[in-house]
């Protein structure tokens, strides 16, 4: 079994989950409570990775972080190396690719918190941000956990984006899914079936636990995968 690739996948999934927790919570909060009339545009953008082929998404990400783009040049100037075909570049892509899997459960959980609890908190003199930490977040915990687990599981299984952005550098960007693909290409069915079975069991376990945790957030989930 390609333990190096498993380790890369695990690190990538975990890092993606953490970044999505930090980035996704404010986005989801905004989506749940904003009354901006053009909000649907942001919602559509967040949901895009659900329908776009990973190659299309990967292609655009590659262009935007490549050495010819302003972002790419900025990163290259700051870190001395570019983002494409690095673990960090892969992380950026994974975060974007798994964004809806975190943001949508977060947002569904936030908006299912009884509005009157929020108003009660405000009337008691507690600021909006403190209300979020003391009321909204604790009552959304299961939705937040669901979003984190889903983004972890989704990153674990990603393939197209990895190929486009990460390439296939052992120990850096070669993930378990890419490793399976390589094994099959090399007609090493033994290695491929072991790794596939592992991925299947891990994914199933994660999803089963998630379903058992929270059905109501799942019910508000607009897309399956």
């Amino acid at each position: 079994m390609d333990w190096t690739a498993i380790w890369v996948s695990a690190r990538l999934s975990f890092a993606t989950m953490v970044v999505l927790l930090i980035v996704g919570v404010p986005v989801a909060y905004w989506m749940a409570f904003s009354r901006w009339r053009w909000k649907f545009i942001v919602e559509a953008v967040v949901a895009l990775p659900l329908v776009l082929p990973p190659t299309v998404l990967g292609f655009y990400i590659l262009l935007s972080i490549g050495p010819r783009s302003p972002i790419g040049r900025l990163v290259a100037a700051a870190s001395g190396s570019g983002l494409p075909f690095t673990f960090e570049g892969l992380l950026v892509a994974s975060v974007l690719y798994s964004l809806p899997f975190a943001v949508q459960p977060f947002s569904a959980a936030f908006s299912s918190v009884d509005r009157r609890l929020v108003e009660a908190s405000w009337s008691l003199g507690v600021s909006r941000s403190a209300t979020f930490w003391r009321v909204v977040l604790p009552l959304s915990m299961r939705g937040v956990v669901t979003g984190m687990v889903l983004s972890f599981a989704h990153t674990l299984g990603e393939f197209g984006v990895v190929l486009m952005i990460g390439g296939n550098r052992p120990g850096v960007t070669r993930t378990i899914s890419v490793s399976i693909y390589d094994s099959v290409q090399a007609l090493d069915y033994e290695a491929a079936s072991q790794a596939s079975l592992l991925l299947l069991l891990v994914s199933f376990t994660i999803l089963a636990v998630t379903y058992s945790l929270q059905r109501s957030v799942w019910a508000a989930w607009p897309h399956g995968r």
Partner: protein, 364 residues
């Protein structure tokens, strides 16, 4: 000018319904203002605007020297800074916090020792000390509403707003809650605005009463004044035409109650009164009062009150007769009956009321 609550706002609803409410009431010495109106009249929206949870389209809201809202000057004070206590109809207790943490929620800025003392004081005041470690889902409706009151009062708000807080409670819990609320706001001297469509609640709890109907505040005044002298037909229709008089229970005997009212005695049927209730309001619907020229010898009505007619108002085929029989009593009779009995102002009559028609509301 003392401390006044001034509300003069226009609020629009998506369906085209508009409220234009103007209201001014003194809050200097506490007291309960009842905001009364039929369901759907916009009472809740109005107190939400006072709390800062809704933004009116136009107008001003001021509390004492502070301007809370002024559309013309784009002033909108956040709900956090208005220092109001808000009690929701369905309690809105934080489900993930214990009763103690719920009460503590709004007083995080106090010093720990002061805070702990305040929590104990509130628990005691709302008779919930034994519930302190429970979660809201382990409470009955009445218990939860008591805790919600304690939570709203803990930060010592300058104004307490209550949105039909007793609507979901059964009758005994409701009477108990009313009494607790009254004694709490009196003890803390916190002026309160209570939204209700329940006349008994207005009578039991209110000092002042504002009637909201058809999108406007129709009348503001002492509760009994408003009930006795509705300013117009809309108010009369929404409060009901009824005589309400303070009374004292003299004797309870086999389910019948003797009341001391004005200079006379009334007999009523006992309903859901506590053993120690003495002060009540006697409510008599004008439709239930019969006018006789002389006492009928064998009538079933238990109350025959001699008096003098002080006024007769005509409303189509129906006439509203006020009889002074130690207290002002309204009766509705047909024009035909008035003519047959030759009733006129100053005439001596006897007002007959069945004991079952005298409805008692314990004073909170």
């Amino acid at each position: 000018m003392g401390d006044d609550l001034i509300v003069d706002v226009e609020m629009r609803f998506p369906a085209g319904f508009v409220i234009q409410a103007a209201l001014r009431t003194s809050i200097e010495r506490g007291g309960v203002l009842v905001l009364f109106g039929p369901s759907g009249s916009g009472k809740t929206t109005l107190i939400r605007a006072i709390a800062g949870l809704e933004r009116p389209a136009r107008g001003t809201i001021a509390c004492g020297a502070e301007t809370w809202f002024d559309a013309a000057r784009s002033v909108f004070l956040e709900p956090q800074r208005r220092r109001v206590g808000y009690v929701f109809q369905d309690t809105a207790l934080f489900p993930h916090l214990t009763v103690r943490r719920n009460i503590e929620y709004g007083i995080g800025r106090l010093q720990p020792r002061v805070r702990a003392g305040r929590v104990e004081e509130m628990l005691e005041m709302v008779e919930s000390s034994d519930l302190a470690e429970r979660h809201p889902r382990q409470l009955s409706g009445g218990q939860a509403q008591r805790v919600a009151l304690g939570r709203a009062l803990a930060p010592r708000p300058r104004l307490l707003l209550l949105d039909e807080p007793f609507a979901a409670l059964d009758a005994p819990a409701r009477v108990r809650m009313r009494r607790m609320l009254r004694s709490a706001v009196d003890r803390l001297a916190i002026p309160s605005v209570l939204v209700t469509h329940d006349r008994n609640e207005a009578i039991a709890l209110g000092d002042q009463m504002a009637v909201l109907a058809e999108g406007r505040i129709r009348q503001v005044g002492p509760v009994l004044e408003v009930l006795r002298r509705p300013a117009d037909l809309v108010v009369a229709r929404s409060v009901g035409i009824e005589s309400v008089v303070p009374a004292e229970i003299e004797r309870v005997d086999q389910g019948l109650v003797d009341l001391r009212v004005g200079g006379t005695t009334l007999r009523a049927v006992e309903v859901e009164l506590d053993r120690d209730t003495r002060q009540v309001f006697a409510c008599i619907r004008a439709e239930d009062v019969t006018i006789e020229r002389s006492p009928a010898s064998n009538a079933s009505a238990r109350n025959h009150l001699p008096g003098r007619i002080t006024s007769i108002e005509s409303d189509g085929p129906i006439e509203r007769v006020i009889v002074d029989c130690g207290f002002p009593l309204a009766a509705l009779i047909t024009r035909h009956a008035r003519e047959e009995l030759a009733l006129h102002e100053g005439a001596s009559v006897v007002a007959a009321i069945k004991a079952t028609a005298v409805h008692l509301v314990p004073k909170a």
